[in-house]
Amino acid sequence: MSIEVSGVSKQFGAFTALQDISLTVPSGELVALLGPSGCGKTTLLRIIAGLESPDRGEILFNGENAHDDVRERQVGFVFQHYALFRHMTVFDNVAFGLTVRPRKERPSKGAIRERVHELLKLIQLEGIADRYPAQLSGGQRQRVALARALAVEPKVLLLDEPFGALDAKVRIELRRWLRRLHDEIHVTSVFVTHDQEEALEVADRIVVMNKGKVEQQGTPDEVYSRPASPFVYSFLGTVNMFHARPQAGQTASTEHHSVGYARPHEIDVSRQDPGNGAIAVTVSRVLPLGAIVRLELARVDTGGLMEAEIPREKHEELWFTTGEQVYVSPKNLVVFVEDYQI
């Protein structure tokens, strides 16, 4: 079931949450809505779910208008804080969507039991059907919430910061598990996150949002290596900025200002000045981080901070030390011309 968002805008009082958003989620894909908090990603997800209605624009499922009523829309929604029914056992939570169906459509007790156990097996929590949510860990609760959402065989699965309330280790485990699960069941899924690493690891496609607008959409590789805007560049990982200064003989433009962007691993570091306009810097810290070594650098001319990442072998060969002066040059500089802002 594909999802199409077409021209959706949403206003909360004077605050514009979403501004003319259009995007397509192809059937069976797992898409991440990525952006800083307050960028409108959760609002967009809630509008897709039908929990919020857009001021303008529409949501299409498989090319047809999605039902206005959230009950009829057949979406599975997973909340950041699980929203499990505390007074029900895990079994009853998962079975809820089936037991509230009108009597004619409701599966038999036996069929419900079978379906719930099938789902508990899927989330690897078969032994805990009789427990209450309060007796589970955060990771288990979120898996139960997922099973509950899947029980009704939703057309699309929507997850709102599903790992946001979990600690770092569980989060990583659970997102890998979600990826494997998605490869198994292939339900069209959209998840919201502010964690770029999570988006890059889990999603088939990433939609980067900022201030109620889509900045870029594409595969993780596309958005990481070919960012469409300075925002995407700086949001997806660390980046070094090179401000172009007007050279002698050139006219300084007052309205436009061009900035070059290069990621830390795209910086060449050498002891000798290669003579191609390399920048002189001093090494302020050397951080060996496993396979790579991160160098924190300070520009000699402006004092501005930079970061470079070099492979460990290169570091072992050259052995940079704190305080020494070296030369850096970007291997791959992407330049954006932006409106001059103070």
Partner: protein, 277 residues
């Protein structure tokens, strides 16, 4: 032994002190006066005791007091929950005022409440004059007693349910809706079970208050023996006749019934919260 041992392992000191204080306080305030009641009762012979507490007039008063208190507590559980819901979920002009109004029965002297209710519901009162032609007599009947108990018990249910409702996340309702539950199913299967423990607590408090209420009821009850005479009044009557042992006998039976009922309610309450780890 194990208590003192584990007490030593606590991070915060003061277990011994606070437990000691709790026992001392409960003894002075509750236990000693109540045991005095039973000691006084014990001055009666078993035969006299039984004769006192099963006399028709006493039995009628028990039936009236507990029956009216239960009816009032049920009414409060239903409508108090409704009031709490409205106060939590909706915004309307005068909401703060309505919220403050709920506490008024706590603050009002019970005699004032009794006189007011009696006046309003008497056959020529503001409300009584419209009810009387319909054949509903409130003042000076058991119904009036129930009305007075509803009045004084209202804040208990509202104030116990309100904070629980405030803490219910809206996500629960959204989750239920996404799963296809209609409004009624969401209320019955998600919201009500979540607030049931609080409603039961409020019910127990309102019931206990109703059983012990005296001041407001005697003005509206009419106090006719066998018909509209509540147990506390009967106790006062005995006291006025210097029948102290008789008064304490009735009081002890009342106390035991109340205690058993509150115990049952507490067990029910615990059961309704069985899901909390």
């Amino acid at each position: 032994m194990s208590i003192t041992k584990s007490a030593h392992n606590r991070v915060l000191p003061g277990f011994g002190l606070t437990l000691g204080y709790t026992i001392f306080y409960l003894s002075v305030i509750v236990l000693i006066p109540l045991s005095a009641l039973f000691f006084k009762t014990a001055t009666l012979s078993w035969g006299d005791f039984v004769a006192t507490v099963i006399s028709p007039r006493v039995i009628a008063s028990f039936r009236l007091t507990f029956g009216a208190a239960i009816a009032a507590a049920v009414a409060n559980a239903v409508f108090g929950t409704l009031v709490a819901w409205v106060l939590v979920r909706y915004r309307f002009p005068g909401k703060k005022l309505a919220d403050a109004l709920v506490d008024l029965p706590f603050a009002l002297p019970t005699a004032v409440a009794g006189i007011t209710l009696a006046t309003v519901y008497s056959s020529n009162g503001w409300l009584g004059k419209y009810l009387e032609p319909l054949g509903i007599k409130v003042a000076f009947t058991p119904l009036g007693i129930t009305v007075a108990m509803v009045f004084i018990g209202l804040p208990f249910v509202v104030r116990t349910v309100q904070p629980v409702l405030e803490e219910l996340e809206p996500e629960l309702e959204e989750a239920a809706a996404c799963l296809g539950a209609n409004r009624w199913q969401t209320i019955r299967r998600v919201l009500l079970p979540s607030i049931t423990p609080a409603v039961i607590t409020g019910f127990a408090l309102a019931f206990a208050r109703g059983v012990g209420e005296y001041g407001s009821i005697i003005f509206i009850a009419g106090n006719m023996p066998m018909k509209s005479e509540i147990t506390p009044l009967l106790i006062i009557t005995k006291l006025e006749q210097y029948d102290y042992a008789g008064a304490t006998a009735i009081a002890s039976v009342m106390l035991v019934i109340s205690f058993v009922m509150l115990l049952v309610i507490n067990i029910l309450q615990k059961w309704s919260r069985r899901y909390a780890a």
